[in-house]
């Protein structure tokens, strides 16, 4: 460091360059201060212009560097992040809406398909039932017919048998009467007698 003793204005105050010894006691420093402009090193006004000058220069340079270069870059990164988050959120929102739309569409399609299936099933059931009904009715009619025919046959058989019985009874009665009276009754008399008894 420079150890020169600069001549300084104003008032011809001479700033003492510090002694090379690093530690000097308080007494020494107050003595030194009495020689200088004030007790504190900060009040050695001879060094003020240089500090003020360089402070303004350095501040101006730093201001230009920060305001033109780094602050826009940092701010840009923050804004880019905000924009990206905003954009991603918007994309996500669109994707969600699309998914919801598709899901409701699918649900609607499913409901439609279910309704169609139910209708088809119901139709098939109805058709099967109708066919079964007609078949049943036909079978039933056929059965009725056969039943009726059978009943008629039985009735005819019974009538025929009954008439045979009557004939047999008449012949028997004729024979019995002839045997008892020796005279054969006419067939008309016998029939009348049978009819009377049968009544």
């Amino acid at each position: 460091m420079a150890q020169t003793t600069p001549e300084l204005e104003p008032g011809g105050a001479i700033v003492e360059t510090p002694p090379t010894t690093l530690s000097h006691d308080l007494h020494e420093s107050t003595e030194a201060a009495e020689h200088g402009s004030s007790g504190l090193p900060q009040f050695e006004f001879g060094y003020w212009p240089g500090q003020i000058f360089w402070l303004l220069i350095v501040f101006a340079i730093l201001y230009v560097i920060l305001s033109k270069l780094f602050l826009p870059r940092v701010g840009g990164a923050i804004e880019a992040r905000a924009a990206k988050i905003e954009g991603d959120l918007a994309d996500a929102r669109i994707a969600r809406d699309e998914a919801e739309r598709q899901s409701s569409e699918a649900a609607a399609e499913l409901a439609q398909a279910r309704a169609r299936a139910q209708k088809t099933a119901a139709d098939a059931k109805a058709a099967a039932k109708a066919e079964a009904d007609t078949r049943n009715a036909a079978e039933e009619a056929k059965l009725h017919e056969r039943l009726a025919a059978a009943e008629a046959g039985i009735q005819a058989g019974r009538e025929k048998a009954m008439s045979n019985v009557r004939n047999l009874a008449a012949e028997t009665a004729e024979a019995i009467v002839e045997k008892l009276s020796g005279q054969a009754p006419t067939r008309a008399e016998v029939d009348a007698a049978i009819a009377r008894n049968a009544a």
Partner: protein, 250 residues
């Protein structure tokens, strides 16, 4: 014990020829201003190098500082605060760098020089006055005439307002200067106690340990003060700028 004021002594680093009778040599004070500004520049060069969407650690710190001051100008000055953000941010970053560098042993604290803090204070007020006249013309003087004050106390109020305005650079300068000098002197004195007590034998060592604990605690406090004073300077710069930017709504 080492002289606690010795750390504030100005020394020439690079002698330059005087200009108009002023000694503009680079002193240790000016050197550490340059180092502080270079540190800020290097830090933001590194922090904004990638400008990644997902920030790294360095970029996060850079963005934190950015948003801290951005919120300040935004909340205090309002929408127009954007224009003054670079100025306030430069003030904040520059003062913070000088304060923090001063925390390193053997480094010089430029903000412990009244020449530096007074210049910064006057710079803020100069900008405030310039912005005030640029935006309001002669309406700038309405700053000293609050509305809704009865006319018979108005002269008194105007005098008070003018004085409070003129005191602003002084308080700006003295607050930062006092905090930095005070903290460093206290650290130096306590550090000196540790050494001198430690030389006194067993009891002295106990005392030295207590003092050492205190020194460590004060060091932590001083880091906080280093940040806080830079922040306070930025806040007050915003408040004073707001006075002239939003003069109509005063």
């Amino acid at each position: 014990m080492a002289d606690p004021m010795h750390q504030f002594e100005i020394q020439q680093v690079l002698e330059l020829p005087a200009v108009a009778g002023f000694d503009l040599s680079i002193t240790n004070s000016a050197l550490w201003m340059i180092i502080a500004a270079a540190s800020v520049t290097l830090f933001f060069a590194a922090a904004s190098a990638k400008a990644a969407v997902v920030p790294g650690r360095l970029q996060s710190v850079g963005e934190m500082l950015y948003e801290l001051i951005h919120n300040l100008t935004d909340s205090i000055i309002g929408h127009e605060g954007k224009k003054y953000f670079p100025f306030v941010f430069t003030l904040f970053a520059f003062i913070l760098a000088m304060n923090l560098l001063g925390m390193v042993p053997y480094f010089f604290t430029s903000t412990s020089q009244l020449a530096v803090t007074a210049t910064l204070g006057l710079l803020v007020i100069a900008v405030v006055i310039a912005v005030g006249f640029a935006r309001n013309g002669l309406g700038f003087f309405k700053l000293f005439v609050p509305s809704g004050v009865p006319f018979f106390v108005l002269p008194l109020v105007v005098v008070i307002e003018v004085i409070s305005f003129l005191v602003r650079p002084v308080t700006l300068a003295l607050r930062l200067f006092g905090n930095m000098v005070g903290g460093h002197v206290v650290l130096k004195v306590f550090g000196g106690f540790v050494v001198s007590l430690g030389a006194l034998g067993a009891l002295g060592i106990v005392g030295a340990l207590v003092t050492l604990t205190g020194t460590v605690a004060i060091t932590a406090l001083e880091f906080m003060v280093a940040f806080l004073q830079a922040f306070v300077f930025a806040v007050l710069a915003c408040v004073y700028l707001n006075d002239v930017v939003n003069l109509h709504s005063h």
